[in-house]
Amino acid sequence: MTKLALCTALLATSALAEESLLSRTTVGLETIGAISLTPARTQGGVGGGLHAAFALDSHWQVHARAAWLWGLGSHTLLRVGAGWQREGTWRPLFHAGLALGLGGSLDFSVADRPPSRAPTVGLVVGAALLRFQVESVIVSALELEAGLSTEFVSFGPRAGVTVLSLSVPLGP
């Protein structure tokens, strides 16, 4: 009997934990435009992507984003980061993270160095001021992002705007 009670308790705890993890994880879609401008590379475009975020508590979250952009060829933009969000219906988010650009770009030689073949790496900070939670759905418009890029030859600014983003929790 004791064993049965213990097993039941463990299963219940596990289910609660799973439920909690799912409900703290949101996934969504976004449309974005981004550009990176260094002396050795111009990379950017407009497109769309997917994102996932995990709430560490009521304010802090970590997130991962993948987007596919067209303009100067096509390239994949991967971003990971962490951010702080306000509680409530109006949920502005402030975040920082890393960006990785893979694929098409306009490349330039700098001095005697040939055009870089390395991916574009960036540090970014961003703010989503027009971000709201309606029921369980989070809607965000005109998220702005800025930072620094390099392709391991030169450095320059990068910027981005997430025109519209929709997120929903994975669990109840």
């Binding site: 550009i35 401008l37 111009t42 098409g104 306009l106 330039f108 030689s109 040939p114």
Partner: protein, 306 residues
Amino acid sequence: MVDGSTAEKARAIGNEVVGARVFADVVSLATLHSTDTRIDCAGLNTRADTWCNLTNATARHFIEERFRSLGLTPEFDDADTHPATSNVLVELRGTTKPDEVVLLGAHFDAFFMGADDNSSGVAVMLEVARLLATRPLARTVRFVGFDHEEIGLVGSTRHVQSRKRPTVSLVLDCVGFSNSTPGSQGSLPGFPVPAAGDFLAAIANDVSRSRVEEVLQVVKGQPTPAVLAIVAPGRGAGPLSGNLMRSDHAPFWLAGESAVFFTDTANFRNPNYHTRTDTPDTVNQEFLTGVARATAMSIVAWGDAP
């Protein structure tokens, strides 16, 4: 990557360029354009003040005669386009890899005197032909004067469609104008080019990226203008890189072939572009000579590499 002995040979031949000869050819070609009969521009839906001042016939004849004087037999590929098109070309058969072709081309039609656009490119092509005429490379080298680039890359498009495709091509268009004054170089957003217009742009796409790397390698430390390599993504046909496709390399890019484009950037630097003032006195002989060296070095490096 060009091996050391090929690079040395390329540099040695490149440094045999005679600048005065190249410049003299620019003067001759520009003079011929100024006295040539204009093409029939009736029916061309374009600006008459410019398009009715396009010439090609005597420049083609000049190239033909130069090829003959070098002991080469030129070919023509006449086509009944409107206006009629006829590229002129010769091939120097390769010694060990004759089936692999390295192409050097420049368009010979021009508005007004067309000193920079494109007598400069034709003159450089003829100088490289002179340097190589008596010493063939491992690969076949094809020299092509393209007709009617200005009307819409007509000659080069026909060439790509009708001839054996080259292993790699180098196209010259507007290679004689430079200005070292800061601010003299124009650009577009996303093109971080130097402020002074005294560099040679070597433009490639993803297919020809390794070729432009070889150009940079072989001209490094040589008496050539600074070379700015620009690599367009993919085939180069994206909406934001269209300005990189404004010459005879574009049909090669669109066909998926490897091609590099040498230019002084034309109207982004030269205020005489497509005007009556595109005259020989605006061409910088030292810059032109350096471009000829870089061109010869590139062709030898590509043509003679193991």
